[in-house]
C-alpha cells in the first residue's frame, strides 16, 4: 500500500472531514461547532485555526474569502475547501484506519470462536 504524502494528526483528520461535510460553507466557527456536535468535546477557536493553518501550509486546504457581516464587525469570513491533495491524503488516512479496524474485528472473532476466549 502506498504511503500518504504527509501524515495527518487526529485533529487534522477531523477538521478535514468537517470541512468536507460543510463544503462549501466550512469556516472557523462552523467547523468548530460541527466538531463539538459530533465528538462531544470542546475546542478552542485558536486550536481550530492553528490546525487549519497547518493544513493550508501542507497544501491540503485552500482558503476562500467570504462575506463581511455587521455582527462580525465588518470582517470577512474565510471559508476552507479541501484540495485534491488533501482529499487524497484524507482518503489514505481513513483507509489505513479502516484496515486496522478490519484486523481488530478479525482478531476479536478469532479470540471468541477459535481460541474460545470470553
Amino acid at each position: 500500500m502506498r504511503r500518504p504524502s504527509a501524515s495527518i494528526s487526529l485533529l487534522e483528520q477531523q477538521v478535514m472531514l468537517a470541512a468536507l461535510r460543510l463544503h462549501p460553507n466550512g469556516y472557523g466557527v462552523s467547523i468548530r461547532d460541527e466538531l463539538e456536535a459530533r465528538t462531544k468535546q470542546s475546542y478552542a477557536l485558536g486550536s481550530i485555526y492553528a490546525c487549519l493553518d497547518r493544513l493550508e501550509d501542507k497544501g491540503f486546504l485552500k482558503p476562500r474569502e467570504g462575506e463581511a457581516t455587521p455582527e462580525r464587525g465588518g470582517r470577512k469570513k474565510m471559508y476552507f475547501e479541501l484540495t485534491g491533495l488533501g482529499q487524497q491524503t484524507l482518503d489514505q488516512s481513513l483507509r489505513a484506519l479502516d484496515s486496522l479496524r478490519v484486523y481488530q474485528a478479525l482478531g476479536t472473532i478469532a479470540r471468541r470462536f477459535v481460541l474460545r476466549e470470553a
Binding site: 469556516y27 472557523g28 466557527v29 478552542a44 477557536l45 485558536g46 486550536s47 485555526y49 492553528a50 490546525c51 487549519l52 493553518d53 497547518r54 482558503p63 463581511a68 457581516t69 455582527e71 462580525r72 464587525g73 470582517r75 470577512k76 469570513k77 474565510m78
Partner: protein, 170 residues
C-alpha cells in the same frame, strides 16, 4: 374593550423601564386589530402596563415582535436587560481582541477576530454582556497556546533555515 378572538396576533417581548430606574422583562400577545385600534404597539403596551402597574412607567421598549408564538416564559430577566444596555455601547473586550490581533497570523487575522466577534454577539444576545465577555476571554486564553506554538514553530524553522544558509555561505 375585549380583544376579538379570530384576528391574527402579534407576539412581543418588551422591557418595561420604571421612573426609578428599575426594569422588568415581559412577553405577551395581542390581536393586530386591537393594537391598531390603540394607536400602535408601543402606545398599546405603555397604556397596558401603566394600567397594570402601581409604579410610574418611564418607557416600554419593544425588544422583538413576531407573528410566530413567543413563549411568555422567555421574558428576559432584568439582569440580562441591564447587560443588554451595556452591550449596545460596546463590542468584544478591547484587550482580549488586541492580544488576538498581535498573536494571529496576518492572513487569518480578520477571519479569527470576526469569528470571535460573531460568537460574542451571539452570546451577548443569549446570555448577556458580562458572560459573553467572560466566554470571549476564555476563548482567547485557550487559543494562546496553539497560536503561540504556530508562531514558535515558524520562528524555529526560519532560524534553522538561516543557520543552514550561513553554514553554506561560509
Amino acid at each position: 374593550m375585549p380583544e376579538p378572538a379570530s384576528t391574527p396576533k402579534i407576539y412581543f417581548q418588551v422591557t418595561i423601564v420604571f421612573t426609578d430606574g428599575q426594569k422588568i422583562g415581559r412577553a405577551g400577545s395581542a390581536s393586530v386589530n386591537y393594537i391598531n385600534h390603540k394607536g400602535g404597539l408601543e402606545k398599546y403596551l405603555a397604556d397596558k402596563y401603566s394600567a397594570d402597574s402601581s409604579h410610574p412607567i418611564k418607557e416600554v421598549r419593544v425588544l422583538s415582535q413576531s407573528s410566530d408564538f413567543i413563549d411568555p416564559a422567555t421574558a428576559i430577566s432584568p439582569d440580562i436587560l441591564d447587560e443588554e444596555d451595556d452591550a449596545e455601547s460596546s463590542g468584544p473586550p478591547f484587550f482580549a481582541e488586541l492580544i488576538c490581533r498581535i498573536l494571529v497570523k496576518k492572513s487569518h487575522r480578520d477571519a479569527i477576530i470576526g469569528d470571535l466577534a460573531a460568537d460574542h454577539n451571539r452570546n451577548t444576545k443569549a446570555r448577556g454582556k458580562k458572560r459573553a465577555d467572560l466566554i470571549y476571554w476564555s476563548e482567547v486564553v485557550r487559543s494562546l497556546l496553539p497560536m503561540m506554538s504556530r508562531i514558535m514553530s515558524r520562528i524555529a524553522w526560519a532560524s534553522v533555515g538561516s543557520a543552514i544558509g550561513r553554514w553554506f555561505h561560509n
